[in-house]
């Protein structure tokens, strides 16, 4: 029978290092998904997963046994992702104003059979979506990703961001407004 997260944590703290491997195997993929959603970069997401679990191992002694391990490790992943976003912004301050880079992974939305107009519109939508994501603050982006794309509850988001549920809700709302404003001109045109 598989041990629960808390039993594995106790085993790790008792000197069984390999028990942490079970936790990594159990939560690795979901952390990757969240990291990718936030960074939209596979390489960054991979790096975030590794850093998250390394930090998690070193901080395991501070883990509160009443907490949920998944929420706790999410919070670490969110902090790692914030650092990546912050680093990215300082390295490319003008990136938002630049034309959309169609070499970025995972943004080719149009299917093979689409005509040139549709391809152009898809590219414009993706450009504006990406710009909207970049305009979001870190909290707004995380709240938006966790709520809208990962389907997490407001309470989980609040725990991950270390804010009140109401503030988490407001962060989601502001993110949606930014996305809406960025994309609104396209709906008027169409």
């Amino acid at each position: 029978m598989a041990k629960d997260d808390h039993a594995l944590i106790r085993a790790v703290l008792a000197g069984e290092k390999d028990a942490y491997g079970v936790l990594v195997a159990r939560h690795g993929e979901s952390i990757f998904r969240v990291a990718f959603r936030i960074t939209e970069s596979e390489a960054d997401a991979e790096e975030i997963v590794q850093e998250t679990f390394l930090r998690g191992y070193r901080s395991l002694g501070d883990f509160d046994a009443r907490s949920d391990f998944r929420t706790w490790i999410y919070r670490i992943a969110v902090n790692c992702a914030l650092r990546v976003l912050s680093k990215r912004k300082t390295e490319a301050v003008v990136a938002i104003a630049e034309e959309y880079d169609d070499e970025r992974p995972g943004v080719q939305l149009a299917h093979g059979g689409a005509g040139p107009d549709r391809l152009l519109l898809d590219r414009e939508i993706e450009h504006r979506r990406h710009a909207a994501m970049e305009k979001m603050t870190a909290d707004e982006r995380l709240a938006f990703v966790l709520r809208h794309l990962e389907g997490r509850s407001t309470e989980e988001i609040a725990a991950a961001l270390q804010v009140t549920p109401n503030n988490a809700k407001q962060a989601v709302f502001r993110a949606v407004q930014k996305m809406r404003r960025s994309l609104a001109p396209l709906w008027v045109k169409s």
């Binding site: 000197g15 290092k17 990718f36």
Partner: protein, 250 residues
């Protein structure tokens, strides 16, 4: 008409408005302005975001292998020496407390069991004091009755009368006390003694031989003397009884 706020529309899209859902849906059907705003929000939310690339099977294990090497195991907590864990220590303490309580309780019980009669409780101690004093009184009364039976000169009779006057109030008190404690044979004997003492003490003239003989026969003082000797045997202190037994054996 009061329009829906953007916040309400976002909540509606995320299914977070709870009980107000029907109200919002009804409003959207009749209000074109709110309907358009909701459509914008829906379009914005339904934009496709890049999907995370699928991870290969055993992705978590691969991550673990990549980070495992630099991690040092947490120092294993020293294993407790069998018995000296908290629950066991508590159990041990409880057992020791139980043993101590049993020992103390047993010794108290043993002490109370072997306690002499006069130390059991205050009432018994008081009774014991009464019996000791009564024994002295009975001894004096016995001597008086013996003298009465062998009375001779006038001086002796005066002494006898004086002694009876001293013994009379004491006897009255003892009789009343014994009567309250419910000892009928002792009460009857003391009552008999009291009448004899009254007769001697309250005689208006000096007692002569005829008076004494009348008292002796009329009040059956021989019988009274026997009764008092029996009572003295009952009221004698344990050490006196022991002494008497020793004397008998010698």
């Amino acid at each position: 008409m009061k329009h829906l706020t953007d916040e309400q529309l976002v909540e509606h899209f995320l299914n977070e408005e709870g009980a107000n859902r029907v109200v919002v849906e009804t409003h959207l059907r009749i209000c074109s302005r709110c309907e358009q705003a909701y459509e914008e929000i829906s379009n914005a939310m339904e934009v496709r975001h890049p999907e995370p690339p699928a991870r290969e099977r055993g992705y978590g294990e691969r991550v673990w292998q990549s980070i495992e090497r630099p991690l040092r195991p947490y120092p294993a907590k020293p294993k407790s020496n069998g018995w000296f864990t908290w629950p066991r220590m508590v159990l041990l303490a409880a057992c020791l407390a139980g043993l101590a309580a049993a020992f103390i309780g047993g010794s108290i019980w043993e002490r109370s069991r072997n306690r002499p009669l006069d130390a059991v409780n205050p009432a018994q101690a008081k009774e014991r004091v009464v019996l000791v004093i009564l024994d002295d009184h009975l001894e004096r009364s016995e001597r008086l009755l013996v003298q009465l039976n062998h009375a001779g000169g006038a001086d002796a009779n005066e002494l006898l009368q004086a002694e009876a006057r001293q013994l009379l109030p004491d006897n009255r008190l003892y009789r009343q006390t014994i009567a309250e404690n419910g000892d009928p044979s002792m009460t009857a004997a003391l009552d008999h003694l009291e009448r004899v003492l009254q007769e001697i003490a309250n005689s208006p003239n000096k007692l002569n031989g005829a008076d004494l003989e009348r008292i002796e026969q009329g009040m059956n003082t021989d019988s009274l003397l026997f009764q008092i000797r029996v009572l003295r045997a009952r009221t004698a202190r344990p050490e006196q009884k022991l002494d008497s037994r020793k004397g008998a054996s010698i």
